[in-house]
């Protein structure tokens, strides 16, 4: 590949790093895009680094991934200029290179490359080291011949893609019109319900809520679903009640909602719960008399806790631990109980709120002491 030039891989003055992507292959390496150049650095041997000025790029296109093949970006280049600095090859019969994205990232890389090639920032701020650009009528003539064939190919491909996309968009638009009708209907029903709540049965309200759930329409009647969610959420709540008993016991009776989300969804594998599904199900624990509770701390952290682990017990044990050690930070407390630092901190804050602990807040950290006042 004779367009490349050896480079020390450092950015020149005025050059800014735009995006870098690991796993991009010429061989296995990291490809970096700057405002002036495309740089490739070998992942194993960091000294090996080659670059191409962006001005050498005629155009580039994506090649979708296939079975056993990574997605690629193919970059077509101008012929090398005569005064180019030394590089890995002196001559090459190819006028393009392929970047193979073994660790993905091609969507963003393609987008940024498009941006840089449109903005052509290298023309405004020349980098301090002279970068060879394609010039001269000789280069121009060979360029014309190569380009025509390439351009024809893009045009065909674009027409084909356009056709597929425009059909998809058309169908999508028609679908959205129908969806909009549903939204309007649901709003008019909601206003009727609000006016004369007594005439609609509890069952019908629940039915209405499940319709809204199916369509993804926000409930316009009550912002909260507390106390009477849909049957789906009730079912979910019971499942969670079973599923979370053991994990909660192991973790001192409390888990952050994000932890629960990951645990449950990893176990499901598919037909995952949305964050809102989880929250709405947890809100039903109390109504369904399940032994779990959803709790929101002052900081906004949401947790699921076992009902058996009462507040007083938690605070008392926090006080014991702190008294025993003289003082504790959230990290130390977390290690002691095998809790996450986040939840350990919440317990200490709770005990402080109840007046059993007081704090020493410095840049070295937040430390809690028994409250002797």
């Amino acid at each position: 590949m004779d367009r490349f030039v050896w480079s020390n891989g450092l950015l020149e003055m005025n050059e800014t790093l735009v995006i870098q992507q690991r796993g991009a292959k010429l061989d296995v390496g990291v490809v970096l895009l700057s405002t002036h150049r495309l740089i490739w650095r070998d992942q194993k041997n960091h000294e090996c680094c080659i670059a191409i000025p962006l001005s050498q790029i005629i155009f580039f296109e994506e090649q979708a991934a296939g079975i056993g093949k990574s997605a690629k970006i193919v970059i077509h280049l101008h012929p090398a200029s005569a005064n180019k600095e030394p590089g890995p090859y002196q001559h090459s019969k190819y006028s393009y290179i392929k970047l193979s994205f073994k660790e993905h990232g091609q969507i963003e890389f393609y987008r940024r490359l498009t941006e840089e090639m449109t903005q052509k920032r290298w023309e405004n701020t020349p980098a301090s080291q002279p970068i060879p650009t394609a010039t001269g009528s000789q280069a121009g003539r060979t360029r014309a011949v190569g380009i025509v064939g390439i351009e024809r190919k893009i045009e065909e491909k674009r027409k084909e893609t356009d056709k597929n996309i425009s059909e998809a968009f058309e169908d999508l638009s028609k679908l959205m019109i129908k969806a909009k009708e549903m939204v309007e209907l649901s709003r008019s029903i909601a206003s009727k319900i609000k006016d004369k709540q007594g005439d609609i049965t509890e069952d019908e309200t629940i039915r209405f809520k499940s319709y809204l759930l199916s369509m993804g329409i926000a409930n316009p009647v009550t912002r909260e679903t507390h106390g009477s969610g849909t049957h789906y959420h009730m079912q979910l709540a019971k499942q969670l009640g079973d599923m979370l008993q053991a994990p909660l016991e192991e973790r001192g009776g409390m888990m952050a909602l994000t932890e629960v989300y990951c645990l449950v969804n990893r176990a499901r594998g598919m037909e995952l719960l949305s964050p809102e599904d989880l929250v709405n199900a947890c809100k039903m624990f109390e109504t369904l008399k399940l032994p779990l509770r959803l709790r929101v701390f002052d900081s906004g952290v949401m947790v699921v806790q076992l009902q058996s682990h009462s507040e007083e017990e938690m605070i008392a044990s926090a006080l014991d631990n702190v008294s025993e050690k003289g003082s504790l930070t959230a990290e130390e407390f977390a290690k002691l109980l095998g809790l996450s630092v986040l939840l350990a901190k919440e317990r200490l804050l709770l005990a402080e709120k109840m007046g059993h602990l007081c704090r020493d807040d410095s840049v070295e950290g937040l430390r809690f002491y028994p409250n002797l006042f």
């Binding site: 028609k174 939204v183 719960l273 906004g300």
Partner: protein
Amino acid sequence: MHRRGVGAGAIAKKKLAEMSKQLETFKTHLEEFASKHKQEIRKNSQFRVQFQEMCATIGVDPLASGKGFWSEMLGVGDFYYELGVQIIEVCLALKHRNGGLITLDELHQRVLKGRGKFAQDVSQDDLVRAIKKLKAMGNGFGMIPVGGSYLVQSVPAELNMDHTVVLQLAEKKGYVTVMEIKDSLKWERERACHVLDHLLKEGLAWLDSQADGEPQYWLPALFSELSSRDVTPEEANQMTP
């Protein structure tokens, strides 16, 4: 009064029945759409963006529930909910190092790496949408605009305008000093120190008091791959003053 009451109730019941019927019809249309274009949504990130924006315009959230039609038939739900899991896990794994603040770029890189070679590619727009959904679960997921992109916050640390502005100032070099804050933002020394102290306490900034000249406040979230190596939790504990 009584008559009006009965009338309104009856109309509502009738509309409810109508909605039920229309829902069935809609489901059929969606199934048809899915059979033709499900692949398009999976593979084409631009199409996903269009789809999401159109839904938002008409007042529909296709990601509200895994039980929704959109999720069940188009499979959009699983794509974003799984992404949510991956985002949470990456943020959790790096919290000891960056205090719960990470650039969208780095998050993107790490999520891609975790997904492996055979998984569907994801764009930054996909990440942003997944993060917006995560906010429902408390825990302070948020996005702070910085230097043309975003910092993703995954802890409930309170960050007000002052903190955000200092983060933005630090973005260029990865660190900031009290002098720089006073010069650029025209703040008093006390205000600058107050903000920097808060960032230190929350674990978002590290203090380099041995730097030439003024002490430097570094933000691990802004370290780029070019100038850092990974730190283990033990090392991180030793580094805090």
